[in-house]
């Protein structure tokens, strides 16, 4: 039996950003513009530190819990519970978030409505932390909806026609499929009598017919899958991710879709439990959907010319890996899946921030115009290259490690259909190479672009986050054991 400690750290990590949204919004009026920026950065840094501070406790094999609003006063308690799965997602999320905040200061300098931007950035951070650190599905749903609404404001930040229509699509899909999620949570509550995420498989085997359980499972998947950008409910993603300002895109694509993936893992392991899932056989269907997601994302990415749009499609494909890993129901598969959540945050965060730097410095968005960018913005393009290579899965970068483990997981599964996914993974790597390599080649060796651009890497406050993320891709490739030590505990808890 796991040991439980009570600590306020998760409360800090969630409530601090949520409650500082107001002060951030009014900080410019009350004090100064600089103060607002530093306040927002400070809040995200403290959040990150609060998450980091939980590592020693969890590495000691304990679980942190804290009841915020007790059962006395709400229908279902709002409580935090930090286990190893939640922790690893929280670490990656809060770290990338902090970097995106630092990056925002220079990137957003000439943008409009910055009060709103920073306020919603911290609000969204709080919602994201809430999703991964809560104890039960009720609280998770509350934060999930909060995330959808607050990130909407980030998506439409530019207020162009394009951004507004993308935002509308995003909002309606999020909320619409969010209702499926609510329905599923209610059904679970009725059948199991609990919606806590603290045990394996809360649904009883004899609770309902196979068909009903199948429907329930896919109601969950519709809700979480829509946020994750899974096929066939991914349609909002390629519109919504690119139109946001670059740091927000980095978070949408690098971090927030993981809220959906995280939810799917919780549903498969905590709500249904591996046994029940394989008994009703829904994991195979989900695996096939994930496979389609991988291929579809990559295939469309190849045809994209606009850099941010291409990255968005690439995210769809990568989230497919995560979901695929979760459906294999094997130790290695789940390990790879969780590790990929962690790794992809670094890779995609870095790529989007690089794309933002290119747009900010040169105004170029079309890949065809990237000729000689490697000479003009060497540091940026070097980091881009590292992250892109990691995406393709080249050792010793972190993308390689997660793909390797995922392949092992698929082989371990033994099932013919699932073994086929090894082929899917390898083929998809090839497709990644097809769309990432031309950019790198063009940037460093390509013909000079016709468009004359002034040529410098961006200032340090934008460069440091980019470099930090690229270094992360490298370091977590070489020292993959750092995240894996936590992930193994998570897998152990979820799969026994």
């Amino acid at each position: 039996m796991e040991e439980i400690t009570i600590s306020v750290l998760p409360v800090i990590a969630v409530l601090l950003p949520l409650l500082s949204a107001g002060p951030v919004f009014f900080a410019r009026g009350a004090i100064s513009e600089d103060f607002r920026d530093y306040l927002a950065i400070g809040v995200s840094a403290i959040t990150f530190l609060a998450v980091m501070a939980m590592i020693p406790t969890l590495m000691g094999g304990k679980i942190i819990e804290y009841v915020l609003i007790s059962q006395e006063v709400t229908p279902v308690e709002i409580a935090f519970r930090v286990d190893h799965l939640g922790l690893i997602v929280a670490i990656a999320s809060s770290f990338v978030w902090m970097l995106a905040m630092i990056y925002s200061r220079r990137y957003m300098a000439h943008e409009h409505a910055k009060d709103r931007y920073y306020a919603f950035m911290v609000l969204t951070l709080g919602a994201m932390m809430g999703i991964v650190l809560t104890k039960n599905l009720f609280a998770l749903y509350v934060f999930f909806e909060m995330l959808a609404l607050s990130s909407y404001v980030l998506v439409i930040h530019e207020e162009t026609k394009e951004a507004l229509s993308a935002g509308k699509k995003y909002l309606f899909i999020s909320i619409g499929f969010g209702l499926f999620l609510l329905l599923a949570i209610l059904m679970t509550y009725m059948i199991a009598g609990t919606i806590n995420l603290d045990q394996i498989g809360i649904l009883p085997h004899e609770g309902a017919s196979k068909l009903a359980y199948g429907a329930l499972f896919f109601a969950f998947i519709a809700g979480f899958g829509a946020k994750a950008g899974m096929f066939p409910v991914h349609v909002w993603l390629p519109d919504a991710h690119p139109v946001a300002p670059a740091p927000a895109s980095a978070l949408l694509s690098g971090v927030m879709i993981k809220a959906g993936a995280y939810g799917i893992i919780r549903v498969v392991y905590n709500v249904f439990g591996p046994e029940l899932v394989s008994e009703i056989g829904v994991n195979t269907i989900l695996a096939i959907l994930a496979g389609i997601t991988i291929f579809l994302g990559s295939a469309v990415a190849i045809s994209q010319k606009e850099i941010k749009r291409m990255l968005a499609y690439s995210s769809i494909s990568q989230i497919g890996y995560v979901i695929l890993g979760a459906t294999l129901l094997t130790h290695e598969g789940l390990k790879g899946s969780i590790l990929h959540i962690f790794n992809h945050a670094f890779m995609k965060g870095c790529l989007f921030l690089c794309a933002g730097a290119i747009i900010h410095q040169t105004g170029l968005r079309n890949i065809d115009d990237f000729g000689e960018l490697g000479q003009k913005m060497p540091v940026t393009m070097l980091c881009f290259t590292v992250a892109a290579l990691s995406m393709i899965g080249i050792p010793p970068l972190n993308g390689f490690v997660s793909k390797w483990i995922l392949c092992l997981g698929a082989l371990e599964a033994g099932n013919i259909v699932l073994v086929l996914f090894v082929a899917v993974l390898l083929l998809s790597s090839l497709m990644n190479a097809i769309y990432y390599m031309p950019i790198i080649i063009k940037a460093f060796f390509g013909p000079k672009s016709k468009k004359q651009v002034k040529n410098v890497d961006p200032g340090l406050s934008m460069l440091i986050p980019i470099v930090a993320l690229a270094l992360g891709c490298l370091l977590f490739g070489i020292f993959a054991n750092l995240p894996l030590s936590i992930i193994e505990l998570a897998v152990h808890a979820l799969l026994g």
Binding site: T74, P75, L179, Y189
Partner: protein
């Protein structure tokens, strides 16, 4: 628990009536004095109601009895948990609305303000009377009084449009009350009593067919005030009234009086067991579901903000009806708690509509571009409550949705969950464009900056919006409506006295 005999229930009613008299006497010459009566009556009434809260909260009752009208039926008042729920809500919102009314009526330099405050006070007296009525007869008296007293408020503008709306209102509601009267007579002849009882009084009387017909009579009677489709026609037309009237009466007092009557009939005249036995819940739930969806669709088509809110009210009222018609613990809790949740959210929305009208003279949604930039505080409150209506957490509407959906699943009728969720989506569909235009479109040139209204108007808005969040965040804190609703449900479902 022994009921306590006390004059306080009567006092709560008399104080508003006295206030009405004083308002009439003071008149327009001493308008500050006149407003003082309104505010002090509102506050003292609230204090009287509150003073009865603790005992009722713990399952007790207050009784005030006078004379017998017909054998077995007296003009009696009784305060049980459900009475308290409704009275507590109405008397609190009366204070808020009074403050708002003063700001509103003075900003617009409205005519006949004395008549307005007078009728308002009578309306509230009747509402409390309905809440405290011990039997159907007493309830009916106050119910009719409310109908009449609302009329001068609806026709306040005295334009031909307002007069027509008033006529429509009277035709609908006075004919509906004939059904109530008929139902009442039949009930009396069957049972010899009209006093509400936690277990119902009709069980064991009459044939099933008879009881079913009787039920239809009651539904038509009370359902008209509760605006169940197709009996809702008067409500949208009544939106010609000044906004505070629409806010309190058409979001809280009048329509909820219909709902209140309905619940009294369902649980206190028929009783849970008899309702289940006769299978009367399901048809009512279906009618409510149709209303929920159709009214939302109507709301989508409206350009006038108040009309959109009116159809939204029609739709939301049927949430309550649906909840009580499902006859399960969670559903009934969800239905009853929505009386309070919807009240706080909808009153905020109406207050905001009024504030927009005062500050900019605009009534139509299509003209409200950029209004969130010029009236930020007002529109933030509006956005919070509109999202709450759609059931987005952590606002109060989510709690309703949670209990109602649980209740529908408990009843083994997941189809109603689909209805509720569809309706949530429709709510987003009709509120979202407004919020979106308000915050993300440019205001027209020459629009004033920092155009939030005076604190007379703003304070009620902010208080009610905060209450909507509070009721969503910690709904089961001690002494909250949800706790009281649980007491009610325990009494009617558990059959405890």
């Amino acid at each position: 628990m022994e009921p306590v005999y006390s004059i306080r229930p009567a006092l709560a009613i008399v104080i508003s009536l006295t206030c009405a008299g004083l308002i009439g006497l003071t008149g327009k010459r001493h308008r500050n004095f006149r407003e003082f009566w309104t505010l002090s009556a509102a506050v003292s009434k609230y204090i009287i109601v509150i003073s009865m809260f603790p005992l009722v909260y713990h399952g007790g009752e207050y009784i005030f009895s006078t004379f017998e009208i017909i054998p077995g039926v007296g003009f009696d008042l009784r305060v049980d948990a459900f009475s308290m729920f409704f009275a507590f809500l109405s008397s609190f919102l009366w204070i808020v609305t009074s403050v708002y009314s003063i700001g509103y009526m003075r900003s617009l330099h409205e005519h006949s303000q004395t008549r307005y405050y007078f009728s308002f006070a009578v309306c509230i007296a009747s509402t409390i009377g309905i809440a405290f009525a011990d039997n159907l007869f007493t309830l009916f008296i106050f119910y009719e009084m409310l109908t009449i007293a609302t009329y001068p408020l609806i026709i306040h503008e005295e334009t031909p449009e307002a007069m027509a709306a008033g006529r429509k209102y009277l035709i609908y509601l006075l004919s509906a009350s004939l059904f109530v009267l008929l139902g009442m007579v039949i009930t009396y002849s069957l049972t010899g009593t009209l006093t509400f009882s936690n277990n119902g009084i009709l069980a064991g009387h009459g044939t099933p067919e008879m009881l079913k017909t009787l039920f239809v009579l009651f539904i038509i009677g009370f359902g008209t005030k509760a605006a169940i489709m197709p009996l809702h026609g008067w409500l949208p037309s009544a939106m010609v009234a000044p906004t505070p009237v629409s806010a309190l009466l058409h979001a809280v007092a009048v329509v909820k009086a219909g709902i209140f009557g309905l619940i009294r009939v369902i649980y206190f005249i028929y009783g849970t067991d008899l309702m289940r036995e006769l299978g009367l819940g399901l048809p009512l739930a279906v009618a409510a579901s149709i209303t929920i969806i159709v009214a939302s669709l109507f709301a989508l088509a409206q350009d006038s903000l108040k009309l959109r809110l009116a159809y939204s009210t029609v739709s939301q009222l049927s949430y309550i009806v649906l909840g009580v018609a499902l006859l399960t613990t969670s559903a009934a809790t969800g239905g009853i708690i929505h009386i309070a949740n919807q009240a706080f959210m909808k009153i905020t929305l109406f207050f905001c509509a009024g504030a927009i009208f005062i500050q900019t003279g605009k009534k139509n949604i299509s003209e409200m571009h950029g209004i969130g930039k010029t009236m930020p505080l007002t529109m933030i409150c509006f956005a919070i409550c509109a999202m709450g209506m759609a059931g987005v957490p952590p606002m109060a509407g989510f709690i309703t949705k949670w209990y109602l959906c649980l209740g529908a699943l408990e009843a083994g009728q997941p189809i109603f969950v689909a209805v509720l969720l569809t309706s949530a989506l429709l709510n987003i569909a009709y509120f979202f464009p407004l919020i979106y235009n308000a915050f993300f479109m440019e205001p027209e040139k020459g629009a004033k900056k920092d155009n939030d209204p005076t604190w007379w108007l703003l304070l009620p808005i902010v208080i009610c919006a905060l209450a909507s969040i509070f009721l969503g965040l910690i709904p089961r804190a001690p002494f909250t409506p949800l706790r009281l609703a649980s007491v009610v449900v325990e009494q009617i479902m558990g059959g405890l006295l």
